[in-house]
């Protein structure tokens, strides 16, 4: 067991001044939650950094998990040692000898934060570098372009030796920036929007509109899978609201204004989501809209749809191209699920020529003519099913049947 700790570095958090304490606490909670399965792990906080003490666990799976957590700018598995030259030299050599691929060149970059240490950083570069050079034949120093940069970080409590600086997911720790509702459709875009929102430290509750029997059960399962994937990144369970949309949709269809139907549906969704947000203490709506992608995502459409709610609408993908969104979806592992062919309620009743320039007054007029429209919306809110999802949660397939059968 070479490494005994993993160090996590924060970025954006550091600019938060007096809030820093709160953020750091959130960060620690989030890391603890994500590493729940590793029982021996302990934690140590120091200025601007968090140390995960491995206590015998291997570092790879832990680094892999931490890489996806928000609020971490970079992380390194490190060997820690006492602030003693010989011990530091031994640790540095041990690390160099354990490298998966033998490098031809290297350099030492020492940093002395603890000024009481008897040697300067410059001296340490030579003292440690010379020791390693002497012990490993054929190895050379290259100061400008080394294959391996061996870092020696001398702090008051210990010295850390490492060479990897792995980029983290960045952003803010989970729930450090408030709560919003995410419209999760089952398509490619909305999970990516959710990921970006989570990265900004938003706590999310997902809202999905289904039109059973017009849409299938599998479409619902797909959204559950996506929500579970998002909860993997937050490290916390995510609440999914499944809103029955059938009544509203069939009512709107019968209003006989085909080209406005999408606009009307999206307005209904906004209103329902607003009520759900109120009941769950959320103060914004995140959507996966991208300007110009479909008829309901033109600026005039977004205007008419947006007027249905007072809540701020966050649209992280608004200026992105489809291929960029797809690339992100692939990277965060939602693409494969998103492209499963089960349709959601948005693609149902799709008119031949949806309006790209809807008129607000006409939309409002049609809505006012629907008998009991308010009640219809309220019924949908009341009929909403809530699921609390975690990444580990078993799927319906896994829980099917009774245990005694298998």
């Amino acid at each position: 067991m070479l490494y005994d700790q993993v160090v996590l570095r924060y970025g954006d958090l550091m600019v938060k001044g007096r809030n820093r304490n709160k953020f750091e606490k959130r960060m620690l909670e989030q890391v603890k939650q994500a590493l729940l399965a590793y029982e021996n792990v302990t934690y140590y906080k120091s200025f601007g950094r968090l140390f995960v003490l491995l206590n015998g666990h291997s570092h790879e799976p832990i680094v892999d998990r931490l890489k996806d957590l928000f609020g971490i700018v970079s992380l390194s598995p490190v060997v820690s040692t006492e602030n003693d030259l010989e011990k530091i030299r031994a640790a540095a050599l041990g690390l160099m000898q354990a490298l998966p691929e033998k490098p031809k060149t290297f350099k030492v970059s020492a940093k002395r934060a603890w000024k009481t240490f008897p040697h300067t950083s410059q001296e340490m570069n030579h003292l440690v570098g010379g020791h390693v050079l002497h012990a490993i034949p054929d190895l050379k120093v290259n100061v400008s372009k080394p294959e391996v940069e061996l870092r020696v970080d001398i702090q008051s409590e210990a010295t850390y030796v490492f060479y990897e600086v792995i980029p983290g997911a960045g952003g803010f720790p989970f729930a450090s920036n408030g709560k919003a509702m995410l419209l999760l459709s089952g398509g490619i875009d909305s999970p990516v929007a959710g990921w970006l929102a989570l990265r900004k430290g938003l706590e999310l509750e997902a809202v999905h509109f289904h039109s059973y029997p017009f849409t299938s059960e599998q479409a619902k399962d797909k959204v559950i899978e996506l929500a579970k994937r998002l909860s993997y990144f937050s490290g916390e369970p995510i609440k999914l609201h499944l809103v029955p949309f059938t009544e509203i949709q069939t009512t709107l269809v019968q209003a006989k204004s085909d080209n406005l139907i999408i606009t009307l549906m999206r307005r209904a969704m906004m209103r329902i989501t607003e009520q759900l947000a109120e009941r769950n203490g959320a103060s914004g709506i995140v959507t996966g809209e991208s300007l110009g992608q479909v008829a309901s995502q033109t600026l005039p459409s977004m205007n008419v749809i947006g007027r249905a709610t007072q809540l701020p609408q966050l649209k992280p993908l608004i200026m992105m191209d489809k291929h960029e969104i797809i690339r992100m979806a692939e990277r965060i592992g939602t693409f494969e699920t998103s492209i499963l062919p089960f349709e959601d309620c948005c693609t149902l009743f799709l008119p031949k020529s949806p309006s790209t320039n809807p008129n607000l007054r006409i939309a409002e007029k049609i809505e006012s003519l629907i008998p009991n429209y308010k009640q219809l919306l309220l019924d949908a809110v009341e009929g909403t099913e809530e699921l609390l999802l975690t990444p580990m949660q078993q799927t319906t397939v896994q829980t099917a049947g009774e245990d005694s059968w298998f």
Binding site: P213, Q254, F342
Partner: protein, 382 residues
Amino acid sequence: MLYFDHCASTPPYDEVIQTMMEVMRSQYANPSSLHRFGIDTNKLIERSRSLLAERMHTTKGDWLFTSGGTESNNLAIKGVARQYAGRGKHLITSQIEHASVYETFAQLEQEGFWVTYLPVSESGHVRVEQLEEALTEDTILVSIMHVNNEIGSIQPIEQIGRLLSRYPKTMFHVDAVQSMGKLPIPIEEWGVDLLSGSAHKLRGPKGIGYLYVRSGITLYPILSGGSHEHGIRPGTQNVPGIVASAKALRMSLEAMEQRERKMKLLRGKLISMISGIEELKLNGAEPIAPHIVHFSYPGMKPEVIVHMLEQHGIMASTKSACSSKDDKPSRVLLAIGATHEQATGGIRISLGDEHEERDIAALGDALRQIAQQLKPLERRLT
């Protein structure tokens, strides 16, 4: 729950489940083992084989056990084509075959065979004259299903067999997955050379298929391995499944006549109910299997109707998996001349032993209600 999906699978007989359990518990030896225990187990398989021959009245051939209807169809068709390719490379089948036949032929085309896919009449039946015209010097195999799995049309197997008796070089395969145990099939009298069946369609276990092979025909095996099932289908036999499937066949055949009478009655009632609902259009025509009713709701996705029936506690099926983005129309319905719209909107009701008149009435009521509910949304769901 009302289960109207017997073409997809049937509930096994209690006695079949019992047998399966008992054989599994007590006869666990490998039937190929040389010791007494293995030999006894093997006797159970041979007894199952002879029971099949006895009950299906075959004396000039042998029955093989496979993993199901798909494997039986694959083995029969590929087995003949690859074994007899030297005699000729022409094969004939129809446009309405089950995928396990249709796709097998498509695969053989890749291997250099030449396949004629016969069209069918509007009622869903192969025309014997067209088959005769398609026959050539090079035709080594004709494969036609007995009962179509979507619309239930019964194919003129007897006439085709009579025709082919004049072509000794041409072998005749029948996919009887939907009819075995349900309709009389005098295999040898009809001149059938190979016939496929599946146990779970006649109240037996899943994972067991039957394949009749007339003696004198050699099949080129798909799997390589030991000498099980005469070396044509290697792999340690599923003894409990085989014994249980033989029992299921016996029980199905014993109940056949009575069941046929009852099904015809129920089918008649259901058909008159559906004819009374103007939105629905019945598909297929006589001769038709007594346990299948097929209809379309033009302009409506069939999945919606299946889901709505489910809300009434009724299980029925569409032909296709629930997928709208590639809602391919049914190949079978297109072949009988249905419009694209009708061909994507098919619903299949398949009846079973447990159904009574009141169940049919409940289904009819549910369909009427659903049609009424969907009326205002018609043609908007595309």
